[in-house]
Symmetry: none
Subunit: 402 residues, 2 copies
Amino acid sequence: MVSFEVLRELHIPAETKIIMLVMDGLGGLPLQPGGKTELETARTPHMDRLAGEGICGLSVPVAAGITPGSGPSHLALFGYDPFRYEIGRGVLEALGIGFELGPDDLAARGNFCTVDEEGRITDRRAGRIPTEKCAQLVEKLRAIQLPGVEVFVEPVKDYRFVLVLRGKGLSDKLTETDPQQVGKKPLPVTALSQDAEHTAQLLNTWIAEAAKVLASEKPANMLTLRGLAKNPGLPPMSEVYGLRAAAIATYPMYRGVSRLVGMTVLDVGGETLEDEIAVLRRHWADFDFFYVHVKKTDSAGEDGDFQRKVEIIEYVDALIPDIMALKPDVLIITGDHSTPALLKSHSWHPVPTILWSRVCRADAVREFGETACSQGGLGVFPATDLMPLALANAGRLTKFGA
Amino acid sequence: MVSFEVLRELHIPAETKIIMLVMDGLGGLPLQPGGKTELETARTPHMDRLAGEGICGLSVPVAAGITPGSGPSHLALFGYDPFRYEIGRGVLEALGIGFELGPDDLAARGNFCTVDEEGRITDRRAGRIPTEKCAQLVEKLRAIQLPGVEVFVEPVKDYRFVLVLRGKGLSDKLTETDPQQVGKKPLPVTALSQDAEHTAQLLNTWIAEAAKVLASEKPANMLTLRGLAKNPGLPPMSEVYGLRAAAIATYPMYRGVSRLVGMTVLDVGGETLEDEIAVLRRHWADFDFFYVHVKKTDSAGEDGDFQRKVEIIEYVDALIPDIMALKPDVLIITGDHSTPALLKSHSWHPVPTILWSRVCRADAVREFGETACSQGGLGVFPATDLMPLALANAGRLTKFGA
């Protein structure tokens, strides 16, 4: 793939608009050998027409055989090498609840747990306390202060919460405190490099204070911290691509990843794609690049509901004319990964993709589906190629070399 | 490609079986423009059916345009980047005669040669002495001992032999002794780094002793050493993939490369694919991954015998039902490189490949052949992708990132 160093040199201004429509978990599998996938089953006249006018292919989210989580797969769509730029678990957990992570933030996934009189863990999830209880405990933990840093504690779900320290010089070269089995005491945070020692000290101080706060609680009388991770400090899209980029997504996790790459995250004020398209229309003049996210294809796949996934794809197809009415210069329709209903989970299978523009060099593909796209002009290609291709098709990249 | 560091984190246990059937030099070329290749000419109903149920593509052994030897091409099939993990010539020569190289071994290709009274080489191959003579000379050289290391000398063929030193701290940062032209004296071994100086000294001592032993011989009164190389110490498949891997191959070279990647090399006790399948059946419960090697496709290609290569492919096809009767979860049918009868040699052309599993996402390919596979869902892909794909299809990889 082309490096950001090169792209920084090549991008040029243009009055063009790019839309990347991401149907989460779009790729699928047939339920029966020789059958059709969800997308192939769906009646999609509008996307079929765009497939005919555009260039198609199968996008490999991360690498052959690798099933990605939503973090790495979205980074790849946005053009960020997902092996180079890893988003830590603590950061993802914070993004997932909509916490606005700053550049100096260190985030951790917290679990409430139960310990005996000796301090040994008897239940790593504190009996899966309800979220309301979690919120009450978090409220108490907010009283704990640390010197020189801001401390945030936020409930997530059941026994899970997020801890964020904000301050200069924090490091995430740290071990986790969860011993991963009952009968053992929580471990201290230890520094994996010298410059992390101060951060380890701060966290151990916070844990000791938290233990006092929780001592009389039942069953959640202790906690563990995992996935300690800093904001990865990704170079923003404005700088590497020269784009004013906006994210239109309703789920916190996707809004969070978008914010990490420097997108402006727009308020949707609703749950549907119609709501998202309304926002797209409203902000059409303000940005060059729009990431539009549809979550429900993935949810249906995860639920193993083939038919519902088909219907959601058809629902999206019916709204394509509303998107095209804005006259984008480049429209990409893809997914971040496959979520076949057959597997009820994310999978490694490449994702059917259309890149539509007036200069895309259309191929012979006439319908939008996995098998059809495997014959497309983009071939089987890495997802990280999409952003450079989008920029090129939008007239936003100049020549490399003389 | 995904790194071993990542794969180490992602592999999970499963009760699934993978077979990789490698027809050596499988890829071919038509004898006449517009004609069919060997594989396309062969009648292969069983492989055609698997192509229909599976996903197909063309595997690039090492890189576009690069004709690989069997070492790098097999490393790539086994998922080892052949540019990163190079197997030295001395090591390949030792593996080729079935020498069981240990982790501390340094191997060299030896050539007997003829020198004049001044010590200048007059024949770099000592008149191509017969193998029996080579064995007699090797027997004499075995008397030479060196301090602190074990010394092995083994005949190969004609004027070629293998020298192996076994001991701690040996280095292969060494020059060769063959001056590459007649009229020059053999060169001393010189160290290319400081920690190789002791090894260079040992080898020069051995050469001086060998010169004395050979002084009265005719025409093989001297020798040269080339391709000095250590066992590359590859990370074993058990560790990077979590697989109990077995090799079923009859030729020493392929057994040797398999041993280098940590496979258990099974005794075949016969020369045929029937013999190999019998071993496969016998050890079915003992391993997760089976590499099964067919040599004769390559031999026919090297001999320029198009028709014989066709017949061998048909012979292999007829045995596919015996392999499928074992009910593997994943079956890969491929070659390590192309050996077109037209060229009578290895070539750079990508290799037709089938990956069959219940969750492979079948493509539209209905027959096994070069042109058909170029339309397959795997596209034209690096051979190193096959192992991650095999693991994914076998349910042996968990999600990357959250």
